[in-house]
Every structure is written in structure tokens, then in C-alpha cells.
Symmetry: C2
Subunit: 200 residues, 2 copies
């Protein structure tokens, strides 16, 4: 930028621009906000970025994020370890936990099979899931990958591997989301909702 | 969050949530992005936040951001130091610099007078501006505060202080923005555009 070259500021702006969903204007706003922070706050922000990187690893059982060998869910004696809910992402675990309804455990794939993006079965944590099946304690696996083409294909792929092991495999129900307006529901969702109708 | 308490992750999310315009969902997305960064990138990000805080100060002349005693604009011999454009914010300097049309210098107020928010004339850099008038070299001051009630009031306040010093004080032109659709222009802007009409 001609005449106005505070290099450090430009570099700070660039760092924010690299974040997903942050354009140049937002990056500028964020950078100026950081500049105007109190020194302690900037230090805390800077530190937590490094700390998160150093401390957070994958749970050795479910591959969810964890600060110890096992994540709090796998470690808990209150969770039913015979039921495993397979999700794509740690954020999906958070979403299920917010329902306070699921008492089983999880398995985080960290992605979906996506030949278009060069992601094969060996690139996500399917191997680790199969290893968990070893001791025969797991009785039900709920495939909770996203309702997208890739999520669907990944669910199918995994279920074909699991079924011969004598474990029951289920898939999340499709249907109209609660609170939504039917008028705006897409055809595929409506068709699935019809197919999946239940007696009342 | 019940059952899912990776404390470091929560703290990282909270740090992002404090940034302006970042809600909980975005903060989550950004935190996960940072977690998935390469270690070097996370280190660079963490470092630049601290560095920006340490290195960037105010230019001792115009109060714009600077890494040295004087900002590049005040230091440059190519800029006309007899003309000073008074702006609210360092971002406004960036905006003017992008036009490549202004060859004078700036003065950054770092805010506007805003009694509602408890910001008085002594809280912005008016004192520093008056100090610059001391040697009589400044001949024109362009008030380029934002076209808002507070920006306007601040421009008026400062111009009343400057005029007795024999300096000519001007204000940015009001009018319809170039490329805009008149249909959507507000009444005040249209009125100002009419008032400020020029012969062609």
C-alpha cells in the first residue's frame, strides 16, 4: 500500500485473511481490534493459539480432540461404550452433546471419503474404528456422517465393513427439520420424510 | 459443554468470540482452523499478534500507526506538509492512500468527540494537532471525519479552534457516491448533492 507501510500491521492483516470466511475488510477490522487490545489480552490470545496446538491431540480411542490420552467421553464410566456414533468432525460431537440425549460414545472420522478431493478410506480414521471392534464389546454403530453425497457414501462404505462383524449398523433418520417450513423443504428431503413416516 | 470439555479448545474459541463480528459458530470454525494449521503457521500467527502489539506505536507527528518515531508519510520528503487531512482512524488513512491522489499529510484523531460514549475533546488527538500548528507551516486543514453526527460535530469543534490561527479549514464534499443508484440515495445525501451542485 503506497506510502502506508506498517509492515507488521500488514502481516497481521494477512494472517487474519488466511482464516476461513475472513475477507480483506474483516481482516483489517480484526487486526485493528487486536492492536487496540490490552497488552495482557493480546498475550493471552497469542498464547492460547500455541497452547491449543501443543496440548490438543486425538483421543487414542475415538479420535476426538482430547488433552489427555483419552477424551472425557471415552474416559467416563457413565457412557455406554457398546454404542458408537460415527461422525465426521469434532464439531459434530459438540452438536450431539448439546442434545444431552445420547449416552453412547463417538468415533470421529476427521473427514469423509471423497475421491474428488483425493481422500480415500485410509485418510480418515476407519482403521481406528475397526480396531475398536476387536474386543466384541461394541453392539451398535450409528452412522452420523453428514446427509451429503460424500457423507452417505462414507456411511455405506463403513457399514459394509462392519456388518460382517455382527454389529448392528444404523443411520440417522432423514426428514423435515423440526421448526422448518414445509413450503421451503427440498424435494429430496420431503421424499425421505414421506418414506420414513411413522404411525402415530 | 457437558461431556466434551477440551478446556484449551474452549478457551481458544472464547478468544475468537471476543473479536468484533465473530459469533459462536464462526469462533468455533476459526478455532478448528487454527488447530488444523501447520505448526509453523500457528507459531507465526501467535507471534505476529504479540509483535504487532510491541512494535506498532503512534507516529509522534500525525498519530497514525508507525513502527518508528515517524510514520512513512510524515517522514517522506515527497509529501506536502503544509496540507493536513484530519481523519478519525488509521483505516481512513489507508482509504485515502488508495486513491493515490492526496499528496499532503494526515492527522489521525483516533476517535471522535462523543459525549454519549464519554469521549471528550481531550480523549482524541486534538492537542497533538494544535501542537503541529505551532510553527505556522501548515496552511490548509481538510476535515475528513466521517459524515456522521459525531464526525460532523468533531469537525466543527476542531475548525473553530483552528480558524483563529489563520489556517484555512475545509470539509470533504457531500454528495452522491460515484456509481451509486440515485433511486436508493437517502434524502439527506440528495439534498446535500443538490446544494453542492457545480456548473459544468
Amino acid at each position: 500500500m503506497a506510502g502506508f507501510s506498517v509492515v507488521t500491521l500488514q502481516r497481521l492483516i494477512e494472517q487474519f485473511e488466511r482464516l476461513p470466511g475472513i475477507g480483506h475488510k474483516s481482516a483489517q477490522r480484526l487486526a485493528f481490534h487486536v492492536l487496540n487490545m490490552k497488552k495482557e489480552d493480546a498475550e493471552a490470545f497469542s498464547k492460547i493459539i500455541l497452547e491449543a496446538h501443543e496440548k490438543i491431540k486425538k483421543c487414542s480411542c475415538c479420535c476426538n480432540l482430547a488433552e489427555e490420552e483419552l477424551c472425557p467421553i471415552c474416559k467416563s464410566s457413565k457412557r455406554d461404550s457398546s454404542v458408537v456414533c460415527v461422525v465426521e468432525d469434532p464439531r459434530d460431537v459438540m452438536a450431539f452433546e448439546r442434545t444431552h440425549e445420547f449416552e453412547g460414545t463417538y468415533h470421529v472420522l476427521h473427514g469423509v471419503i471423497s475421491p474428488m478431493n483425493g481422500i480415500g478410506p485410509e485418510d480418515i480414521t476407519i482403521k481406528e474404528l475397526l480396531a475398536r471392534m476387536g474386543d466384541g464389546k461394541i453392539q451398535e454403530v450409528i452412522m452420523a456422517t453428514n446427509p451429503t453425497v460424500e457423507g452417505e457414501a462414507t456411511a455405506m462404505y463403513i457399514s459394509r465393513l462392519l456388518k460382517p462383524m455382527g454389529v448392528s449398523v444404523s443411520r440417522l433418520a432423514y426428514g423435515v427439520p423440526v421448526g422448518a417450513d414445509l413450503e421451503y423443504a427440498d424435494e429430496v428431503t420431503l421424499t425421505r420424510a414421506l418414506e420414513g413416516r411413522r404411525m402415530i
